[in-house]
Every structure is written in C-alpha cells, then in structure tokens.
C-alpha cells in the first residue's frame, strides 16, 4: 500500500446554513500518483480541492495533508505550511496573472513564501524552463502571450513554489488540441518526477490515459474509488452518475469484443490490439 498524501475522513462542507456541497466523504489520495477527480458539474470537486489547500475549512470531519490535520477549528495561521506543500492551479489560471513581466509573475509565489529575490528568481527560471517556455519570453508582459503560453506561465507560478502535491482544476479547458496534448505530456513528466497530482477533469479520455486512480463524486458524495479500468468496466455506474466512457471503451463494446484483454481504455491501445488481431486474422468483431 502506497503512503497516502491526503486523507479525508468523514469530511463535510456546507456553504452557509444548509447548503451542503460535500457530505461524509472518506477516501485517500496515494502519494506519487496521479489521481483523477471526476463527477458531474456541481458535484463538489472544486470544493473538495479548496478544502485540500486550506482555502476552505471543513464544516465537519478532517482533511490530513502530508500528516497535517485540518479541522473546523484549525487557525488561519496554521495554514501557511500547508500552502507550501500544496500547489493549486485553478481553472483558467491565466486569469491570475498580474505582474509586468513573466518572470516577476512566477516569482510572486516563492516570494510570498518568504524566499529572497535571488532564490525566488532561481525557482522561477527553473519552473519556466521545466515547462518549456523560451527564455526570450521571460521579460515580456504576460498579457502579450498566447493563451497556451499564459497557462504555462500560470502553471510555472505554482510549480516555482515547489509543492509536493499539485492540484489541477480542469487544466486543459479552453486550450486547442495541440495545446491540450502538450499540457498533458507536461503533466505526465511532472508525475514521473515524483509529484503527487490530483487532476479534476471532465474528459474521460484523459482519465484513461493519465490517471493511476480515480475518485468519482456525485451530489457531494464519493461514489467510486479505484482504477480507471475498474471504473470503465462498469457502464451502469457511469450512466448513473452522468458520465460517458471513453470512445475506445464504447467502441470495443460495440464490437462485442469480450476477448480483448486487457480492456482497451485509450484509442492507442485499442488501435494496437485491433491491429494485432486483424493481422493475426482471429478477430471475432
């Protein structure tokens, strides 16, 4: 069993008097893996992540992040060390850019955490390079960059704080297909470097391709925790929670392709398996 990075126990959260966004939620997020968090719109995904970064405090239950426990009674001051460990990339993070230059914007986070200008600059340069942003852009205004570049700068702004856990809220929303593919391969690289990642997404293809484990929320409650393969093998569960399986899964199913083993989750594995069968001439589809 992998050591959990985050542990939720009996977690509940209400916006105002009786508007529960999360109820009695208990699960863990394994360290060093990529966990996909999915669910219908309004199911509480963003709320859960805001609780994980201490932007909200639980109404009931606890959140434990790398050993630090957060409850309804946690003081605001105690949250500073938490923010150091958790990096939160919001949906459309380019909306948070504000400084005159790309470099200054990325340095903002480390400086808030108390780094001196020299080490902040080092961290910023490292993060920008890690995300493949050319040095020629460092002194440009972030507002002069393309949408995809802006998103990388925003992501660098969080990575420069050197988090152990990275939260991504729909990181590919609004990007063109190339930008999406680039960002996804970046995320894969970050995971390979040992970062724990939680990614909120509405795209099941991404879940199939990237996720080690999946958590599904519906109406503020956890309805599934397991691997993508387990999840996509349960069409009834998916339908009950307004989720559509990846195209590859649907396709294999339409072929009535029970022989496929393992069940293909992505277009790439599906194509490979099909090719193998067609060449071998033993296809039953």
């Amino acid at each position: 069993m992998v050591e959990p990075a985050v542990e939720y126990a009996g977690l509940g959260f209400a916006y105002g008097a009786d508007r529960w966004a999360l109820r009695e939620l208990s699960t863990t997020i394994p360290a060093g893996q990529l966990t996909a968090l999915i669910g219908h719109t309004g199911s509480g995904k963003s709320t859960l992540m805001e609780l994980t970064d201490g932007l909200l405090l639980p109404t009931s239950g606890t959140v434990t992040v790398f050993g630090q426990q957060i409850t309804a009674a946690t003081k605001k001051k105690e949250l500073a060390p938490l923010r150091k460990k958790v990096g939160f990339v919001f949906q459309f993070p380019e909306h948070q850019l504000f400084a005159d230059s790309v470099l200054a914007d990325v340095m903002f986070g480390p400086q808030n955490l108390g780094a001196n200008p020299t080490s902040a600059k080092e961290a910023a340069t490292a993060a920008l390079t890690r995300l493949g942003l050319p040095a020629a852009l460092f002194d440009r205004s972030p507002f002069e960059l393309s949408g995809g570049q802006q998103r990388r700068v925003a992501l660098a702004g969080v990575l420069a704080m050197n988090p152990q856990l990275l939260i991504l809220d729909e990181p590919t929303a609004g990007l063109d297909p190339t930008g999406q593919a680039e960002l996804l391969s970046l995320i894969t690289e970050l995971k390979a470097q040992g970062l724990t990642i939680i990614m909120i997404t509405h795209q099941m293809e991404q879940v199939a391709r990237l996720a080690d484990t999946v958590r599904v929320l519906d109406g503020g409650q956890l309805v599934f925790a397991g691997t993508p393969a387990d999840l996509f093998a349960q069409p009834d569960l998916l339908a009950a929670h307004h989720l559509t399986p990846p195209a590859a899964v649907t396709f294999a199913k339409q072929l009535d392709w029970a022989a496929a083993d393992p069940q293909p989750l992505t277009a790439a594995t599906l194509a490979a398996q099909l090719a193998k069968q067609l060449k071998g001439g033993t296809g039953n589809g």
Binding site: D53, L55, R83, G87, H95, Q96, F98, L113, F143, V158
Partner: protein, 267 residues
C-alpha cells in the same frame, strides 16, 4: 449565482408590496424620505412609524431582513447620535465637561436623529427587499425618461444600468476566484500593515480589470453584431403596467401626506 447573492437583499415573495409598480415604489420611497426630514414633532414621527410598520407588515418579509439593513449601519448611527447628545445645548443640563454637555434638548435631538436614521434605512430597505434589481433598473429608466427633453441619453443610460446590473454578480464571482488563486500562491489578505494590505490588492485588481476590459470588448462586438444602435428608440420585453392597486397605494400616500401636513400645523 444570481443577483440575490450580491444584493443579499431581495426576498422573493408575492405580497401586495412586491407586486406594486416599481416606479411607484421608488417615488414613494423618495417621498417618504422627504417626509422624514420634515417630521419634527412626536406626532408626525409617529404617523411615519405607523405607516412604515404597516408597509412592513404588508410586505410579509421577515423582520430580520429589515433589521439586517439597520444593523450594518449601527456604528455610524450610534456615533452620530452620541455627537448630537454631547454637543447640543438647551434645556436642563445633566452633566458637563469642557465643551461637552448632556442636556435634555440634546438627548431629545439624539433620539430623534436615531429615529430618522431608522426610518430612512428601513424605508429604503422595503424597496430592495421587495423589488428585484431588474425591476429597479426598469423603474429608474422609466423615471429618467422625462429628462430626454434635456438631451440626456436616457436610452443609453438605461442600457448601461442593465448591463452593469447583469455583470455585478459575475464580477463578484471573479473577485472570489482571483483572491482564492492568489491565496493559493501564498498571499495572506488578512494580515500585515495597512500598506501591505493595500499592496495585496494589486494582484487582485489588475487581473480583474484585464478581464473586465476583455469582457466589455466582447460584449460590444456581440451587441453590434446583432445590430444594436444606441440612437434608435427601443422597445421593451418587460413592460411596466400601472394597476388599480398602484392607484390605491398612491391615494394612501396622498392621504398620509395630508395627515402629515395637518399634524405639522397642529404641532
């Protein structure tokens, strides 16, 4: 998110007051404030209190809603009343220290002042509690219409008002979002010196303005693409209709005013 979240005020309902024409409500509220300023004696104030209580009763809105409006300004009210009580002269002197004195006339003045605050705040709360922001915008636009003879761009003003109303909740949402994003980047909005706190507004305001300008541009393009011409007369989807109950309410207001004048002469 809807406008309610922003104004935090509108209390959905279907009472007589809710259904009154918003134009009438606005004019009546203005008139009520004027009367409050002319009320000096106990009798005329009592008349206004009774009128207000009757309206509150008719609005069928929980009293806590009205109280919330007053509570927000309680500090200002108490402070003003205290100044009034300490620095007025006349009547019996109860206590004196330097230029400060508590006198019977001062106390009466302070109580009247507080009453005036309560009446005005609660009176205007009746409007915000029983009228949606959209209805209010329509009413303002309708009431501004006569100013057209002065070449005031009334149509454009009305359009600006409704656009502003439409986007206030959006922008409030955006503020929350940006603040959260910067908090996640280590900004602590709740501590530090005044200067430091002012500095923390920069990473919130700049993205906010950038987004607002972008949105304004997009909206302008979208409006022009659909043929919006600011100088053409516009028809309205939501029409305001004057009903019998509005005439009735107006009559009540006239009678109250007459009674008020009578009381003022008698006082």
């Amino acid at each position: 998110m809807d406008n309610r979240a922003l104004f935090g005020m509108y209390f959905p309902g279907n009472s007589l007051i809710h259904r009154l024409d918003p134009r009438l409500k606005m004019v009546a509220c203005f008139w009520f404030v004027v009367l409050v300023f002319f009320a000096h004696g106990w009798a005329s104030n009592l008349l206004l209190i009774v009128l207000l209580l009757a309206v509150i009763r008719l609005s069928r809105v929980v009293f806590a809603k009205y109280w919330a409006g007053v509570r927000g300004l309680m500090g200002v009210i108490l402070f003003t009343a205290l100044i009034q009580a300490l620095f007025s002269s006349g009547g019996t002197v109860y206590w004196q220290w330097g230029i400060m004195a508590v006198t019977s006339a001062g106390l009466v003045q302070a109580v009247l002042l507080m009453l005036r605050f309560f009446l005005i705040i609660t009176g205007s709360t009746v409007i915000t509690v029983t009228t949606t922001p959209l209805e209010l915008a329509d009413a303002i636009a309708a009431l501004l219409k006569p100013l057209k003879v002065l070449h005031l761009p009334v149509n454009q003003l009305a359009m600006m008002l409704s656009i502003a109303l439409r986007f206030v909740p959006t922008i409030m949402n955006e503020v929350t979002m940006i603040m959260n994003a910067q908090r996640a980047r280590g900004v602590d909005f709740n501590s530090g010196s005044l200067l430091k706190r002012a500095k923390h507004l920069v990473p919130v305001l700049i993205p906010l303005f950038v987004a607002a300008f972008k949105r304004a541009e997009e909206l302008a393009v979208a409006m022009e693409a659909r043929g919006y011409d600011p100088n053409q007369p516009r028809t309205k989807y939501r029409q305001l209709h004057w009903q019998r109950r509005d005439s009735l309410a107006l009559a009540v207001l006239v009678f109250v005013t007459l009674a008020f004048i009578g009381l003022r002469i008698w006082e």
